[in-house]
Structures are given as C-alpha cells and as structure tokens.
C-alpha cells in the first residue's frame, strides 16, 4: 500500500470515533431517542460515505473487509478509558464482541458465498 493511501486510511480511522464521541451524546440530549437516529444518518451515514463510499480506507488486496466499525470500537474504548472508564470492566464486552463477531461471520458465510 502506498504511503499516501496508508495516511488516508489512518485519517479515516481517526474521523469516525472522533465524530461519534463529540456529537452522538449531545444529539440524544437535545432530541431524545430520535437524536440517535439522526446520529445514525448524519454521523455513520456521512462518515461511511467518505470512508467506504469514496474509499478513504484502503482495503487489503484480496483481504477480508475491514469496516470502519473497528474504528468506532477501538476509538470509543480509548476515549472512555482516557476519561476515566475502567478498561478491565470493558474486557468482558470485548470478548463478547469477538464471540459475537465470529458467530455472526460464521452464519453469514453459510449463505453469502
């Protein structure tokens, strides 16, 4: 992968958790649960458009899909720990995400290929 594409991929990973952390909670505070749907469209939808719609995140040649969801998971865990959240208490949910991801990926592989 060229250096420029690598830097763009890092920037794409930066963008998503940064926007979620700063905007999502405030949208819910202001608009209630509908704020969450607004966040889904205006944060996830719009950021998806740059990261995956235009390809700011470069995928590996012949590689499995790396979704910007990874950026949300890793970045938001980082932000919450920096703000005093317990990493140790988050570990069971990280394990649950690995188990759930393996289960979900296995089931999808049964009918998508």
């Amino acid at each position: 992968m060229e250096l420029t594409l690598m830097l763009a991929t890092v920037a794409g990973g930066f963008l998503f958790p940064f926007l979620i952390r700063l905007l999502w909670g405030k949208l819910v505070d202001n608009f209630g649960t509908f704020g969450g749907w607004m966040a889904a469209l205006f944060i996830v939808g719009t950021t998806w458009a740059i990261n995956h719609g235009t390809g700011m995140i470069t995928q590996g040649d012949g590689g499995a899909w790396i979704d910007m969801g990874f950026a949300a998971g890793i970045g938001l865990l980082t932000a919450s720990v920096v703000r005093g959240g317990s990493f140790a208490k988050a570990v069971p949910n990280v394990i649950a995400a690995i188990v759930g991801g393996a289960l979900g990926g296995l089931i999808l592989s049964f009918f998508l290929f």
Partner: protein, 119 residues
C-alpha cells in the same frame, strides 16, 4: 446472562450490517449506503446502546457495537474465503486501529477542554 446478551447484540448488528448494507449500495450507490446507516444503525443503536442489550456498568470503558460489526465482517470473509483473506486484511486493520486510537484520544482531550470552557 449479561455476556450472552452482549454476544447477541454484537452478532445481530454485525450480521445485518455485513449482509444488507452492500445490497443497498448495489441498488442505489453511495446514497444507498448513506440510507443504510439510518435503516440499520438507527435500530441497532437503539437496541444495543439505548435500551442496553449490551450492558455497561456506569464506570466501565465503552465497547461500541462497531467492534462486533467490524469483527463480523472480518470473520465472514475469513470463513467464506479462507485464512489468506484474514492475513491480507491485517495492514488495513492496523492502520485503522492507529487512527482510531488517535481519534478517540484527541476527542477525549477536546471534550475535557470544552467542559472547562477554555480556549
């Protein structure tokens, strides 16, 4: 039970995103992807993080359903295509992880600064 709830939450969000989203894009292009976020992430966020199917203690670090979605995509192609697909994806995953740690860290610092009301 809380662990099982979390496994279900991450797996369901991951399966819907990693099967339906691409089909929306196939029909409507980039606008389909934009609308997929509303149709999929909206209800999945409501179930997992608003209703709390995925439980977090008040003082726990936050593990977003995005992690389950990302892992579902990685495992989907690893099971469907083979382990070579897994290794070929690692450079992209590493770069995204670096960006995500930076983004999360900077967001936390920006948030602290805004709460202080300073410049």
């Amino acid at each position: 039970m809380k662990f099982l709830r979390a496994v279900l939450g991450y797996a369901i969000a991951g399966m819907i995103v990693m099967s339906v989203w691409g089909e929306f894009v196939g029909v409507w292009g980039i606008i389909g992807g934009w609308l997929a976020a509303f149709a999929i992430i909206g209800p999945m966020w409501f179930m997992n993080h608003f209703l709390g199917l995925i439980h977090h203690d008040a003082d726990s670090g936050f593990v977003d359903m995005g992690l389950g979605i990302g892992l579902t995509g990685l495992f989907r192609d690893t099971f469907g295509v083979g382990f070579d697909a897994f290794t070929a994806a690692m450079p992209t995953l590493a770069l995204v992880a670096v960006g995500a740690i930076l983004g999360g860290f900077v967001a936390a610092k920006v948030e602290e600064s805004m709460e202080k009301g300073g410049n």
